[in-house]
Amino acid sequence: MNTTAIDTGARRAPGEIGIWGFVLCDLIVFSLYFMTFLYERAQRPEMFLEGSHQLNLNMGLINTLVLLASSLFVALAVQSIRSGQAVLGRKYILGAGLGGAAFIVNKMIEWGIKISAGYDAQYDLFFQLYYMMTGLHFLHVLVGMVVLTYLWKMTAAIRTNVTPRQVRFLENGAIYWHLVDLIWLVLFALFYLIK
């Protein structure tokens, strides 16, 4: 058995360099979205103030905490699986997946309530941007759930030792899930918190 030691303390790209091509591209695109939002907000401050009052702050706050917890679970899963505790790691992945599912359900309920109250995407520009931006983020969450499912399947066979390919896939998946969390942190500030 050929065992390679990887020193986690050494300077190395988490996952692989490649995944950061994804992350940086996505971050730049989202920052353009954020700027579009603030530009439109500056054109019509009253409309955006009124819009943010219509959103349910508590649901947004719950979703933020759920995603943060889910992110922590994924980070802990990476930590445990790398150090040979695959069974514990899988529990964390399951926890992260439940967090993602809770986010999806919560978001759909929130959208449903807003739409049935008449605040759909055509209501005004605030809600147009709200549905566009949270919609793109929602798509990222759905992709993330697929990634978590693959992680769950992949880790089933791991007992104590992991192969470099498994570590790479695990870390890449984790980085993607943190990206989803990170984007939501800004969306939450823009749509729910700013007055």
């Binding site: 390679t4 360099i17 930590q79 942190l185």
Partner: protein, 94 residues
């Protein structure tokens, strides 16, 4: 079969939980700033700033950028600072 034996003794669990606690506290703090303590303009700046501090923490700790090569770490830090600066400017100048 090639496997990876990771250097043991580097348990980051504690620091991950610390960062997560900080993230939750910062979230609650920005939620509190929404209605208390600051004027409307200062609240906008504070909320945006706190959210990018959170973004930085997620990248630095959860995404393990603190172990990454410096060019990658600096790119991410640059993105955080630049976006934060641009967004706060946009919120006030326009």
């Amino acid at each position: 079969m090639s496997t990876v034996a990771l250097s043991k003794g580097e348990d980051h669990t504690k620091s991950l939980i610390q960062v997560w606690t900080a993230l939750v506290v910062l979230t609650l703090l920005s939620w509190w700033f929404r209605d208390h303590g600051l004027g409307p303009d200062a609240a906008v700046a504070a909320i945006l700033f706190i959210s990018f501090v959170k973004v930085y923490l997620v990248g630095h700790s959860f995404m393990e950028l603190k172990f990454a090569p410096s060019w990658l770490r600096h790119s991410f830090t640059a993105w955080c600072s630049l976006s934060c600066l641009l967004l706060i400017t946009l919120a006030f100048v326009l």
